[in-house]
């Protein structure tokens, strides 16, 4: 039994008297792809906000690699190796795609302001290395041709993939993905499966995935946790969860039929 890379211990969050998260526990092992599903308002995104430090929990603890990260600034948590993407596109629209990726390397570069202002040799070398690494990252997702496009000129689906690459480039240990498949066409969805597996296998990154496209979750995740009204109602392999009566009642029954009448 390997020690969990990320563990959430008895976390509760409430807004205005409403418990959005109620005593949640979650242990994610290194190299795992964990699915996090549940109906709207189940508290999935709040969960990611708690882990990434945007919203500190009112109760409970979050451990990354065995050390508590509760109360730290989001930027510090990112430096410790936790990356994430967001539900809406958060690409930097004033930068090119390549510059977006270079920003992902921010915390791994170290030039000081004066070195940058005077454009010292060391700074130039670091910039070149940053640029090169960003190019490789674009290659990884097969979007080299887009390097010099402005961020604002991409399709929604492309923006999402660039955002994932931007997070990966900083060599995080864990990446939280918030509905990454929104806006992807059905054809691209298949490639996306593959991309997530490659991220885990080639980059050695552990993934936590919120997703409404159930097929993707069932295909790619090792373990699935189901939230409903701020509580964990089920956890296990995709097959176990799929057949769990409570899950069918709380989630699949209402949500899935409404969202994907054809499937």
């Amino acid at each position: 039994m390997t020690a969990p890379l990320l563990s959430v211990r008895d976390v509760s969050v409430s807004f205005g008297g409403v418990k959005v998260l109620d005593g949640i526990n979650l242990d994610v092992k290194p190299g795992e792809i964990r699915g996090l599903i549940g109906p709207n308002g189940a508290g999935k995104t709040t969960m990611l906000n708690v882990i990434s430090g945007i919203h500190p929990p009112h109760h409970g603890d979050v451990l990354l690699d065995g050390a508590s990260i509760v109360g730290r600034k989001p930027s510090d948590i990112a430096r410790l190796g936790l990356g994430r993407t967001f539900q809406t596109s958060q690409l930097f629209r004033g930068m090119t795609v390549l510059e977006n990726l270079m920003t992902g390397l921010h915390h791994r570069t170290s030039s000081g302001l004066l070195a940058a202002c005077f454009n010292t040799r060391r700074h130039q070398e670091e910039e070149e290395a940053t640029k090169e690494e960003a190019r490789q990252a674009l290659e990884f997702i097969g979007m080299s041709a887009f390097a010099d496009r402005p961020g604002s000129a991409l399709s929604f689906g492309q923006q999402r993939v660039i955002e994932i690459a931007r997070t990966l480039i900083g060599s995080p240990k864990v990446v939280l993905l918030d509905e990454p498949a929104v806006g992807l066409s059905l054809n691209r969805l298949a490639e996306f499966d593959l991309l997530l597996r490659r991220i885990r296998d080639e980059k050695g990154v552990t993934l936590i995935l919120i997703e409404h496209v159930i097929r993707l979750v069932m295909d790619v995740c090792d373990q699935v946790t189901v939230l409903s009204s701020g509580r964990r109602i089920a956890e296990g392999s995709p097959d176990t969860v799929r057949n769990d009566a409570q899950v069918i009642e709380a989630y699949l029954g209402k949500e899935l039929r409404a969202r994907h009448p054809a499937s």
Binding site: F15, G16, G17, V18, T46
Partner: protein, 293 residues
């Protein structure tokens, strides 16, 4: 003690004007989420319009008041059309710069039309300027008239907001923009109504205030900042909060001016605004309203 009651009364009087300006700011903010940085200039400009009608053209006070309020409404609608409506989906930098640009156009226009810097126009008092003593307290009738007028305007506005169709529509948008679009409330009209109504209230405040003080083209900004301080104190989206905030700012200012130094009168609102925004950005008078999930 006499000084205190005097200061309190004059603080409440100017406070009632700040309350009206704050009401205008909150009306706009509540239903559009925007702040009109030209609000103070609309206030100033309407005051000048009333001066022109009343002093230059010899019209009565009440008709001048009515026309100035109507002009204020129109100017507010124009502000919406030029600076706010095109900026609705843009970022906040664009919106603020556009309304500030417009503010300077109004300011320059007032200077060109009604005189240069240093030209202070006076408005004849509408009641006798001599103080009277009521129950041992010295009272200037003009102040009472302003205070009473302001309260009447607030009541009229409250009735408008609660009882008329337009008011109800504005309130609905304030509660939920998306839902009100679904039920067919036209957002364009709401924006126009809000900006117009906000400016009309400011215009009413200007005409009410005019007999009490002098009019000059640069007055708009300092009234805007004070009105804004009042609105912020009340949490920026609460109408009663804005009124309460206005009275607070007025009284704080009067007491600071009376007991510390008269130069503190000008600056106390700025200090309040800086502290409130930094320490308690949700407003002092909001009672821990928590965000919905």
């Amino acid at each position: 003690m006499e000084l205190f009651t005097y200061l309190l009364l004059s603080g409440l009087t100017t406070g009632s004007l700040y309350a009206l300006i704050a009401l205008g700011i909150v009306v706009v903010n509540k239903s559009t989420g925007m702040i009109n940085f030209a609000h103070g200039e609309l206030f100033m400009f309407s005051g000048f319009v009333a001066w022109m009608l009343h002093v230059q053209m010899g019209m009565g006070y009440l008709p001048s008041f009515a026309i100035a309020v109507a002009v204020g409404f129109l100017l507010g609608a124009v502000t919406n059309l030029i600076a706010a409506r095109p900026m609705r989906n843009a970022d906040v930098v664009g919106l603020v710069l556009a309304t500030i640009g417009l503010a300077f156009v109004f300011r320059g226009a007032a200077r060109v039309i009604w005189g240069g810097k240093g030209d202070y126009l006076s408005f004849p008092p509408i009641t006798s300027p001599d103080p009277v003593t009521i129950a041992g307290i010295m009272v200037i009738p003009q102040q009472i008239a302003v205070l009473a007028g302001a309260i009447v305007i607030m009541l009229v506005f409250a009735a408008f907001f609660r009882l008329t169709r337009a008011g109800k529509m504005m309130q609905a948008t304030a509660d939920n923009a998306k839902a009100s679009r679904l039920v067919g409330i036209r957002i364009d009209r709401i924006y126009m109504l809000s900006f117009g109504t906000g400016a009309a209230i400011a215009a009413a405040a200007a005409v009410l205030m005019a007999p009490l003080t002098l009019l000059y083209p640069d007055m708009g900004f300092s009234f805007f900042i004070k009105g804004f301080a009042a609105a912020v104190l009340g949490g920026l989206t609460s109408l009663p909060g804005a009124v309460l905030g206005g009275f607070c700012i007025g009284v704080i200012e009067a007491l600071a001016g009376g007991y510390i130094s008269s130069s503190f009168m000008e600056v106390s609102a700025f200090i309040v605004i800086m502290f409130v925004l930094v320490l308690r950005p949700t407003g002092l008078l909001s009672f821990g309203k928590l965000r919905q999930v």
